[in-house]
Amino acid sequence: MNREELIHNLKAVYARLWVRIKGGNREPEWLAAEVVIPVITLSAYVFLYKMVKAPPEYAGFVIIGGTMMAFWSNVLWNMSAQFYWEKETGNLEVYLVAPISRMAILLGMALGGFVNTALRATAVFVAGILIFQVPIALYEPLTALLIFFLTIGALYALGMMFASLFMLYGREAWHTANLLQEPIQFLSGTYYPTTSQVVPQTIQLLSSLIPLTFGLDGIRRVAILGQGIGDVWLNIVALVIFVLVLLPLARFALGFMENLGKKEGRLTLRWQ
């Protein structure tokens, strides 16, 4: 890719990001609903832990889990499944005929989705901390941020990979996404720590295949348990590996699926 093409693709990234931010925040009631509903969900878990007299840091685990879950839902439904909607509205055809990299469109979607979700997730996080008086022991904010951004990178790369499935299989891929919603919430330990002794080893092993597990665990340790980079280096290494493997894999999957779609004639086929 030469300089001119790079600038062209960056313009496409920015444009798709702009659409997502502009579109996502045009209706204020959407914004309110997207903050209030997750806080209610988190409250249920926090009250449950309080009822069974779990250690106070468990409330913090739940709030961080709920905050990160917002990103996973965004990846799954507003990133992966987006190509399905784009196909139905005729936008995918326009994207595919335009002289841009498909990764530019996905990157724009990812960044726009990240900004939108970050606004909502921050509101959920702050509300959760204030309402439930969660004890915070954050001594290394940079480490927490590093883990957070690595987790986001890995999640969105995973989303890009799933987008290629939606591009070709449409509604058939919908079930896969559904399948990934609850089990990942369960395996990655959104509302409980997977490293605790009550979680069976098999589940711990399975959960280690998901980048969200390492991200959640790392951020919880640094932000709630007061641990430092020396304690979470394994999480950082795992997340770096996820990013390095998933990004090129997403690029390959996208090219492969596009070519397959062109061969089979399914690329712009609707209602499948």
């Binding site: 600038i7 062209h8 313009k11 496409a12 920015y14 444009a15 798709r16 702009w18 659409v19 502009k22 579109g23 045009r26 209706e27 509205t89 005729g90 936008n91 055809e93 326009v94 994207y95 595919l96 005929v97 335009a98 002289p99 841009i100 070519n259 062109k262 061969k263 089979e264 004639g265 690329l267 712009t268 086929l269 609707r270």
Partner: protein
């Protein structure tokens, strides 16, 4: 029907424009496209060879399922041919897709690309960025296109609130943003009212003439649209190009035929007897439940055969409401080639 069979038996027709007069900007060589069907494979394109000159408005005319959209998808890099080769702007659509995409644009009728929550102008800005236009150029082009296509007053209206006609104007404006060398229009006036269709047609013709090298490949199943807009028309049916020439020359080929339009007083009238009358080249029919009438158009080798038809109608106790001699249209060209009108026995719609 006899003429049709002769043409089909003759083999594959190559649609060639005069090479000496204009360089070819679109070329297909024996393009075949086969889709996996539910029961058996469906051949959507059968050795299609067309050559389109720079600056031409070229029409692909055929009923639904004829293969028009399949061909346009191959030329716009959305689909690979099963065999054969296609070139757009000198670039191979299968191997140099990225280069092809830089010089083309695709506008599909009935589609509303864009985001409903954004305004018309915001949508156009977004699409301009997919072609890497600078802010100043994008702004100027958007203003110009909105003015030309007469939807300036809706610039700030959300796309979801626009009527079908204005959405299609927006869609066409989107297709012209990058000033394409070749504009592909797939049924651009599908579902639009007469006035909007006329305006869009006029604008497209004007655009192609203004852009000295602006080439248009248009697919349509509206005869009048092809007749009015196109320099040349290829008639396609069941994946085969049956004829290719200027609308005038295609119609001139029928000068020796006689075309009669008849209206009879029953919606259930049966015209299958026409298949057995020697000298009937083909016919098409339109039934109206509201008026309980059927109109049919029949193409004959000689006028005297019409007397036989009238007596057959009388024998069926059908009241003839009107008879007229008609001038040949592109529909008649199609009837002469296929033996039936567009509305009958359309091919499988494997493209949608």
């Amino acid at each position: 029907m006899h003429v049709a069979n002769e043409i089909l038996n003759y083999g594959i027709l190559h649609c060639v424009s005069p090479r000496d007069l204009m360089p070819h900007i679109v070329e297909t060589h024996d393009v075949v496209r086969i889709f996996k069907g539910k029961e058996k494979p469906v051949k959507a394109l059968d050795k299609v060879s067309i050559y389109i000159g720079e600056g031409e408005i070229f029409g692909l005319l055929g009923p639904n399922g004829a293969g028009k959209t399949t061909l346009i998808k191959i030329l716009t890099t959305l689909l690979l041919p099963t065999s054969g080769e296609a070139y757009v702007g000198g670039f191979n659509v299968s191997k140099e897709a990225h280069k092809v995409r830089r010089i083309i644009s695709l506008v599909s009728g009935g589609e509303t690309p864009g985001y409903g929550i954004l305004s018309a102008k915001e949508n156009l800005w977004f699409f301009s960025q997919l072609y890497g236009l600078s802010s100043s150029i994008a702004k100027a082009r958007i203003e110009l296109l909105m003015a030309d296509l007469e939807f300036e007053e809706y610039a700030k209206t959300r796309m979801s609130r626009l009527s079908t006609g204005y959405k299609q104007r927006l869609n066409l404006a989107r297709g012209l943003l990058n000033n394409p060398k070749i504009l592909f229009l797939d049924e651009p006036t599908l579902g639009l009212d007469v006035l909007t269709s006329m305006k869009l047609r006029a604008y497209i013709v004007d655009w192609a003439k203004r852009e000295r090298e602006g080439t248009v490949l248009l697919t349509t199943h509206y005869m009048a649209e092809a007749d009015e807009m196109c320099d040349r028309v290829a008639i396609i049916d069941r994946g085969r190009i049956l004829a290719c020439d200027s609308p005038l020359r295609l119609k001139r080929k029928l000068e020796e035929s006689v075309i009669m339009k008849v209206e009879v007083s029953s919606v259930q009238a049966d015209f299958s007897f026409l298949d057995h009358i020697k000298g009937v080249i083909g016919y098409s029919q339109t039934r109206s439940i509201q008026t309980d009438t059927t109109s049919f158009k029949v193409m004959l080798t000689e006028e005297r055969i019409f007397a036989d038809i009238m007596s057959k109608l009388e024998a069926q106790n059908l009241k003839v409401l009107s008879t007229n001699k008609a001038e040949p249209t592109l529909e008649d060209v199609y009837i002469s080639l296929v033996g039936r009108g567009f509305e009958e026995e359309e091919g499988p719609d494997h493209e949608s």
